[in-house]
Structure formats: C-alpha cells, structure tokens
Amino acid sequence: MGAGAALLTVLPFRANAAVDDLIAEFTGGAELADAGVELTAPEIAENGNTVPIEVSAPGATAIMVLAAGNPTPPVATFNFGPLAASQSASTRIRLAGTQDVIAVAQLADGSFARQSKTVKVTIGGCGG
C-alpha cells in the first residue's frame, strides 16, 4: 500500500470536453471509422509518468494522440513522410490518472479512424 502526496495523481479525472474540439479540429468534422488505426497501450501503467504506447495505421498520413483525462489532452501528432516504412510509431506519455488514450488517424484516402484504450493508473502496493 503506497500512500502520500504522490497519490493525488491517481484521483479520478473527468474526460475533458476539449477532446471533441481537438478531434474536430484535426478531422475538419469528418466521420470517424472504427477500423484503420490501432492503439497499443498497457492495461495497467507501471508508472503514470511514463506509459508506453504504440500507434499504427497502414497508409495514414498522420496520427494524433490524445489523453482524454489529462488537464490538457494533446499528447503528440505523428506525420509520416515518404520514407516511413510503416505508419506506426511508439513513444512514452504522461497520464494523470486512469483514463482513455485516443488515437485518431488520417488514412490514405483522406478519411479518418479512431481507437481508444483505457489505461489504469493505480496506487498499487500490495503483493503475494
């Protein structure tokens, strides 16, 4: 059981309303398909300050990543150039509590796709 000031970071946050606006800005209000982009993230973060994620969207020109529960949701936008061998990338991100991470991709035909994953950020601290 861990306790102390650092735990305040795991208090639940409500999804930020700005998320919808950010997505609309990226897509120009276009429809979002379910298929076409894949987001890989751990079920439970080992450390909320450095959560490994991977995005992949074959043929995409760009993939935007948002952390819906962070005080400011934008995380990164990957723009793929002509020499990208695949439209996939990994990085590490900060999550201020259990929340949904969202990836939105602009696909080769100009359409958009979205996938989200819940990542749990826990106090932890017990064990067998």
Binding site: L8, L11, E46, G124, C126, G127
Partner: protein, 542 residues
C-alpha cells in the same frame, strides 16, 4: 501435546510423503514463494479467498470444508491440516511444523535419487521475508538455495533489494535467472541480465523452461528501487518465445511463472504451446493441476511448506501424460538433510541472540492469509494505532508470513517474518475521508477486477480503527461504503482530515520508524497478545 504429535508422526512416514510412481521420462520439481523461511514454521491457509468473474468458485478460490470435499480430503487428515484452515491450532499441535529448507533438500535429493536428472525450478519470492535475509541482503537464502542446486529461477520480491544488489547476485548465480518479461526500461528491449528461457536435455527430451517474472513489480513494489527495469505480462512476447523454442526443437515447454494463478489461467488461454505452467505469487497450494486447453497449471504453495513433483511422458515432441504430487513438508516426519541444516545454522549464527529474543506471548492464533484480515495484521494495526497515535491504520495485504499458535512465545524473528522488507518505514500522515476511500477502491480493484490481467495477486489492505462494507461485484469507485470510525461510531466525512498510520509505502522518501520496531514496542507493552475476532469488514457479493 506430545502424545498427539507422536501419534500423528507414527501415522505419517517419510516414505509415504515421498511415495510416487515414477512416470515417463522427465521430472520437474517446483518450489516457490519461500519468502526466506529456512526453518520449519506453522502456516495457516486462508479461510477467505474470493474469486471474481469467471473464476468465482473455481480453484484456488475454494477453502475449508469445500476444498476438502472437492479433493476428497478426510477431516483431521494430514492433507486437512496442510491445505485448509479449520481446527488449525489443534491439528498443528498434532502434526507439528511444516517446511524447513533442510527438509526440502531431503525431498529434492530423494526425487533425484529416483530420477537423477530431475529439473529443480524456483518460482521466486525467495530472497525476501526474514530477519537474516534482510540483514544479509538475501545472501543467506542465496547460500542455502545454491546448496539445493536449482536449475533455474524467476523473480518478484528479489527486486526490492534494489537493482544493484539483484544484478550483483544474479551475476554470480550458478543457475539460470529467467524472465522473458524483464525488459530494459530505457530502450524497451529484453534485459541482458535475465534470459527469456533455458534449454535442458533430460531423458533424451529437449526441455525449454521460459521464465515469467512478476508482471506488476513497479506497481506493487517501489519502482524507484529498480528503475532500469520494466515488466508487464507481455503475452505476445511470451508467444514469440514459445514459438522460438519450439522452432529450436523443444519437445516440452515449461513456463516458470510468478504471474499469480488467475493470470496464469488467462495467459494459458491466450498463449499456445506451453505444456506446463509452474505457478507462483498467489501462494495457492493445489493437490491437482488445473487444465486450460492443453496446458497444465501447477500451484505449489509458499513459505517452504510444499514441493511439487511433476513426472511427464514426452514422446514424438509431445507431452503424452503426467503424474503429479504436491508433497507437504511435514518437518517432524521428514529427516533434515544434515549438510543443509548445518548451512542454515551457519547463516543464522551471527544473529542468534537477536533472533531468539522473546518479546511477548500470544494467547491468540496469529496468521495472515485471507482476503480481508488476518490476526497478525490486526496486531500490526493495533501497534500502529497506539504507537503512532493514529485514527486509522493501514497494513499491506501481502500473502507471506508464517503463523503462531496460541501459547507460543513471540520472538523478534517472528515479528520480522511478517514485516521485514527494504521499505518498512511506518509513516504517519493526514488523509481526507475521500482520499481514504480512493485508496480502498484502488486496492480493491487490484484484487476484485473481473479481468485477471488487472489483478496484482495480493489481498485487501488491512484496516485498523475503521469499519467498512465492500461489494466485490461492483466496479471501481462503487465497491466501498459505510466507512465508520470504530472508536466513535462516526461515519467518515469525505472532507475531514484523519490521522492515518501505515507502512510499506511504495513512495520514495517515506519517513518514520521501522514497522518491526513499532510492533516490538507494542508487544512489549502488552506482554500477552489477546485479539478479539475482527468483524470490521462487511463483505457483500461473495
């Protein structure tokens, strides 16, 4: 008394315990979660071990009389005493202590006499859990285990020695240190120090043993002590490793796992091609393996109380059948191995006086295992409340720590057996009622989330000074209610601050006296410990 113990010993012989019809062409010997218990101890199995989701009512979430019925165990029998909690104190007086690594050595040697190339595998949680282990930073256990000549090992609490010390020991280990899920945190690549698997050629069979360390190491334990490493379940990588060893000709694939039982069950359904999972971490002891698809899962208990033997018939690159026995280590029945006994005494000699000092006595059975409370934890919470002058006490829901019978002395060694760790400081801080609820909800979800991959394999944080109600079927945030201060009967105010004392914080820089000193001071003042049954947690949905 003596008469009943003699009777029990006469009814039970070493030959009976070791009796085994040798089978097939490969033998595995599994021991796990020893928690540095080199000497015989008492260890009471849990009364409450609730399964959720698909695992509700499934082994290992069956206890007591239901467990005995399921496995055809006679009341009052040695298996009753070894595997269930009922009548523990009286059966313990009859059957005596369990475990002791010198007895384990005798069993291992007997299996090797029968099958000289049997593979001995240690599931981890080995270099943690006692006074001497803490004082020697695991060296006592390394020395004694080396004498048993294991073939491979995986890890959990070992990492709480800090990565520098772990690396130092692992570099000198005369056997394989395995963990396919131990990664270098910086580059996200398999850690060089720990190999994913090891091949053994035994009985003409190519055996691959893949290691799986505890996946939630930096969450359940202080990640700042081993920042270079990342863990996780990594079942995709596990599948790659299984395919790789099969491609290299492995005819038998064994996973030496510290996932915990329900996580192993889920993983066995996802990863194809593992023949045997030797399961550790959740401290379950099962007299029969559990079958998931074509994978058998073996659970071998904890604290040196059991050794599992699994004989396998491997032909034409396939496992065709198995024989299994969970061997209880009755320490009054199994002759200790003289060489290992001497080695154990050698490790303990420098600390003999400190270990043996009697701090008090107990009139109550002191045990830990159970989802919500154990009497050892009640005693620790009492110590925190009085010594740290707190409203509420919190003690971690770990599953290690031997039991003491009513009438026994409490020695300093006994206190360290249930408290020793490298982050044992007893903090004292103010928390709001809301925040205390957040903590309970968070820990409860790590135990009762219906998806095993969200479970960390411990028990509920133990609470002193406060009562609460838990509905284990609800989602996180809705399980805990009716939080009440016991001394005043007052319902906790979400906005009000309460003084909370606890220990084993995973945060760096925690301040306070060591928990074993807090408990020792409390026991000295009390003299004789008498505990009332704890009824402070109301459980719903079990």
């Amino acid at each position: 008394g003596n008469w009943s113990r003699l009777a029990a010993q006469q009814a039970l012989t070493q030959d009976q315990l070791l009796q085994f019809e040798t089978f097939g062409n490969v033998s595995l010997i599994h021991i796990t979660d020893i928690h540095a218990q080199m000497k015989p101890i008492f260890f009471r199995e849990p009364e409450i071990n609730l399964g959720v989701g698909e695992n509700k009512g499934e082994v290992p979430h069956v206890t007591g009389a239901d467990f005995r019925r399921l496995f055809g165990i006679e009341d009052g029998s040695p298996s009753h005493y070894a595997l269930t909690y009922n009548d523990f104190s009286s059966l313990a007086r009859g059957y005596g202590k369990v475990g002791g690594l010198d007895r384990v050595a005798t069993v291992v040697n007997a299996i090797r006499a029968d099958r000289p190339d049997a593979i001995l595998l240690d599931g981890g949680d080995t270099w943690h859990g006692s006074y001497t282990c803490l004082k020697t930073q695991g060296q006592d256990m390394v020395n004694v285990m080396n004498a048993l000549k294991p073939d491979a090992m995986t890890f959990h609490w070992e990492f709480t020695l800090g990565s520098e010390r772990v690396n130092e020991i692992v570099e000198g280990l005369p056997f394989a240190a395995l963990g396919q899920n131990i990664f270098d945190a910086e580059w996200d690549e398999p850690a060089e120090m720990f190999k994913p698997y090891k091949f053994f050629e035994r009985g003409g069979v190519k055996v691959a043993v893949i290691g799986q360390a505890f996946p939630y190491m930096p969450i359940a334990n202080p990640g700042w002590m081993f920042p270079e490493y990342s863990f996780g379940i990594r079942d995709e990588h596990m599948q790659e490793m299984v395919d790789e060893v099969r491609g290299m000709g492995a005819e038998l694939v064994v996973c030496l796992s510290h996932n915990g039982f329900d996580v192993d069950k889920k993983m066995a359904g996802i990863v194809k091609g593992i023949d045997v999972i030797l399961s550790g971490h959740t401290h379950d002891a099962l007299p029969e393996p559990v079958l998931v698809g074509e994978t058998i899962i073996v659970a071998s208990g904890s604290n040196g109380k059991f050794v599992s033997r699994v004989d396998l018939d491997v032909r034409d690159g396939r496992m065709m059948g198995f024989h299994h026995k969970l061997i209880p280590i009755f320490s009054d029945v199994i002759t200790p191995d003289a060489q290992v006994s001497a080695l154990i005494d050698e490790q303990r000699a420098p600390f003999k006086t400190e270990l043996e000092e009697v701090i008090g006595q107990t009139d109550s059975l002191l045990y830990r295992r159970g989802n919500f409370n154990g009497s050892w934890d009640d005693l620790i919470c009492d110590a925190l409340l009085s010594e740290r002058e707190a409203d509420i006490a919190m003690s971690p829901g770990v599953r290690w720590g031997p039991s003491l019978l009513p009438g026994q002395d409490i020695t300093r060694e006994d206190i360290y057996n249930v408290t020793s760790m490298t982050y044992g400081k007893a903090y004292r801080s103010e928390m709001t009622g809301e925040f205390i609820k957040v903590i309970l909800e968070d820990v409860a979800d790590n135990i009762f989330n219906p998806d095993p991959y969200y479970q960390q394999g411990g028990d509920m944080v133990r609470i002193g000074g406060m009562a609460y109600r838990i509905d284990i079927t609800k989602p996180q945030g809705e399980r805990i209610s009716d939080m009440t201060l016991i001394k005043s009967g007052e319902v906790l105010d979400p906005a009000k601050n309460y003084v909370v004392a606890g220990w084993a914080s995973v945060n760096e820089g925690t301040e306070g006296p060591q928990i074993w000193d807090v408990v020792e001071n409390h026991i000295r003042k009390e003299g004789t410990i008498r505990l009332e049954p704890n009824t402070s947690v109301e459980v719903v949905g079990a």
